[in-house]
């Protein structure tokens, strides 16, 4: 009789297997290397290329390659290469922190909605739906315009508007997992609701949440650049978006001032999405036999 019964497949794969699948994929490994490269550039690069990104070092609008400035100078005569090297830190930091914020909100709302069901779920999912209907960029613009454009408020604004996808995924995973036997087993052995949510179900729901959060990092970097393009960036720090935003008036005369930071964003987000795809293949148990 037992033979006919379906045995729950474990939803978490052994760590070793995850790494193996991940590193077997060329694109994922390439993405990871690019990301590490960019992070190294951002954090150690300034030691080897000490030009201050805020310093006026040469004539404005010196084209790339001329006068010893590889990527040229911007409208104030600042070195663009140095801005890109130093901007990596802030762009990546904002991307990660904003994704972390949306991950927290999304997991919180999604897990409570999925676990408790009933009116709790109804209310929380209504809120989530609302945030899906809201034009996120405009909402973030309003927040940043009202509360000032510091790195903190920009990060929080991006995090606060982009958690809806995480909440939906978390909820649907919770709905699936909470019916499984090991949850019942844990409940009957006396675990309270909080322990069930955070120590029993959440670790089993982690895979798709991690993948989604990885993609959110990329989205947040583009988001920050978009805000900066509209003039909503912290004037006291250099980020890639800020370089684009401050030069946007001159795009027709000095294209490169916008092209290069754009390429930096493009490559970074591309690398993140490659890593995200790789994580998806490595973590998703449904695809394991492929």
């Amino acid at each position: 009789m037992l033979e006919n019964e379906e045995i729950d497949e474990p939803t978490i794969k052994p760590v070793k297997e995850i790494f193996q699948t991940f590193f077997k994929s060329y694109s994922a490994v390439t993405g990871l290397f690019i990301l590490i490269g960019i992070a190294v550039m951002g954090f150690i690069g300034p030691l080897f290329y000490p030009t201050d990104p805020f310093d006026m070092v040469w004539m404005p609008f010196s084209p790339p390659g001329a006068d010893g400035f590889l990527l040229g100078t911007d409208y104030l005569g600042r070195d663009i290469l140095s801005q890109i090297i130093n901007g990596a830190r802030v762009s990546i930091a904002i991307g990660f922190l904003a994704a972390l914020v949306s991950c927290f909100i999304g997991v919180g709302i999604g897990s409570f909605a999925g676990f408790y069901g009933g009116w709790v779920e109804e209310t929380l999912m209504r809120i989530t739906e609302f945030f899906q209907v809201l034009p996120t960029l405009l909402f973030a613009m309003v927040i940043v315009a009202l509360f000032g454009s510091s790195v903190l408020s920009i990060t929080l604004a991006i995090g606060a508007v982009s958690w809806a996808s995480v909440a939906r995924i978390t909820r649907s995973e919770f709905l699936r997992i909470k019916e499984l036997d090991f949850v019942l087993a844990s409940r009957s052995s006396g675990s309270n609701n909080m322990a069930l949510i955070f120590r029993v179900i959440l670790p089993n729901a982690a895979a798709p949440i991690i993948v989604q959060s990885a993609l959110l990092v990329g989205a947040a970097i583009t988001f920050e650049a978009g805000l900066a393009f509209l003039g909503l960036s912290d004037p006291n720090v250099i980020s890639w978006g800020q370089v684009i935003g401050s030069n946007r008036v001159y795009i027709l005369d000095a294209t490169y001032t916008v092209t290069f930071p754009g390429i930096a964003i493009f490559i970074t987000v591309l690398a993140i999405s490659l890593v995200g795809d790789g994580l998806n293949d490595a973590l998703n148990p449904k695809l394991r036999s492929r």
């Binding site: 309003v142 509209l230 964003i265 987000v269």
Partner: protein, 311 residues
């Protein structure tokens, strides 16, 4: 739908309330300063001395009566300003959405017939590009390529004011010529997503029994693909298109500022620069309205595709 709008309005009010500074401060700033007594008078004039909930109620009632406040930068009612710009944004958003759906579905159907071929690779590459390239950056590149180096399309705006013809079609094609680049730019994010989704959903449907039946009946390849497979694989694509409406509106704001398209996006951009908060809040309400209408249209399309769906 009304509930969503109500929540946006309340949220607007909350943000206004929580943000440092109020209307009185802004006005005092533009006047070059005011003393305590004047400030108190201003606050009283704008009802800022009332209790929280009465202020909230007043705000909601005012918005419901289409009074979004007054733009101190343009010196015009916000509602009039928005109505003037609204059609341009509507045109951009819907044309981009329809174009990206059309191209996306076409590309997806094509790629699905050859799941491991070149076209599928192309679709995947393209969707990565759509995800990774910031939309304003794509816009700038297209602008430089097709307005500066190969001047086929105009650099900015929506109309050529030098045209004096009274012929409707002349103006129609003029707007179309201006619309082309912004539309392509905005669509570039989304047709990648749609084509990828359509490809996946087509692949699933093509393996279904009813497709085999259709083939066995001796229907032509075209009939099987378009009448049987496509119709049944469209609903996830349309659903996703509905969910992306808010992203399309967000993208439109960036695209508009690149091409100086005279819509809500450029208005929002200008209102940020001039610290014109009432305009920004009005735009938020209006674009939410646009998204909810877009979602409603999506639901109706879904119902037309599949009569089993109830709204």
């Amino acid at each position: 739908m009304l509930l969503v709008l109500l929540v946006v309005v309340v949220l607007n009010f909350l943000m206004l309330h929580l943000a440092p500074g109020d209307i009185a401060d802004t006005i005092a700033q533009t006047m070059g300063g005011a003393d305590e007594q004047d400030m108190a008078e201003l606050r009283k004039q704008y009802g800022l001395d009332q209790p929280f909930f009465i202020q909230l109620f007043n705000y909601v009632v005012r918005v419901a009566l289409l009074d979004f406040g007054h733009s101190h930068f343009y010196n015009l009612p916000v509602f009039d300003l928005i109505m003037e710009r609204f059609p341009a944004t509507l045109l951009l958003v819907f044309s981009a959405q329809i174009l990206s759906l059309f191209v996306g579905i076409l590309l997806g159907v094509y790629a699905a017939q050859n799941p491991n071929g070149l076209s599928s690779l192309f679709v995947n590459m393209f969707s990565l590009f759509g995800y990774a390239a910031p939309v304003f950056w794509t816009g700038i590149l297209l602008l430089i390529a097709f307005s500066l180096h190969i001047p086929i399309f105009p650099v900015s705006g929506m109309r050529d004011i030098t045209i004096e013809s009274s012929n409707f079609f002349v103006h129609f094609f003029d707007v179309l010529r201006h619309l082309f680049l912004p539309m392509i730019t905005l669509a570039s994010i989304f047709f990648a997503y749609y084509s990828r989704l359509c490809r996946a959903s087509m692949l699933e449907v093509l393996g279904a029994d009813f497709v085999r039946t259709a083939k066995a009946k001796g229907l032509s390849k075209k009939d099987v693909l378009l009448k049987h497979a496509l119709k049944n694989s469209l609903s996830p694509v349309i659903t996703f298109a509905g969910l992306s409406f808010s992203a399309v509106v967000s993208g439109a704001i960036l695209v508009e500022t690149v091409y100086s398209w005279p819509g809500l996006g450029t208005l929002a951009f200008n209102s940020i620069i001039s610290r014109d908060t009432p305009v920004l809040l009005g735009i938020l309400i209006f674009s939410t309205l646009m998204v909810t209408v877009g979602n409603l249209l999506t639901d109706l399309t879904l119902k037309a595709l599949d009569p089993r769906i109830k709204i």
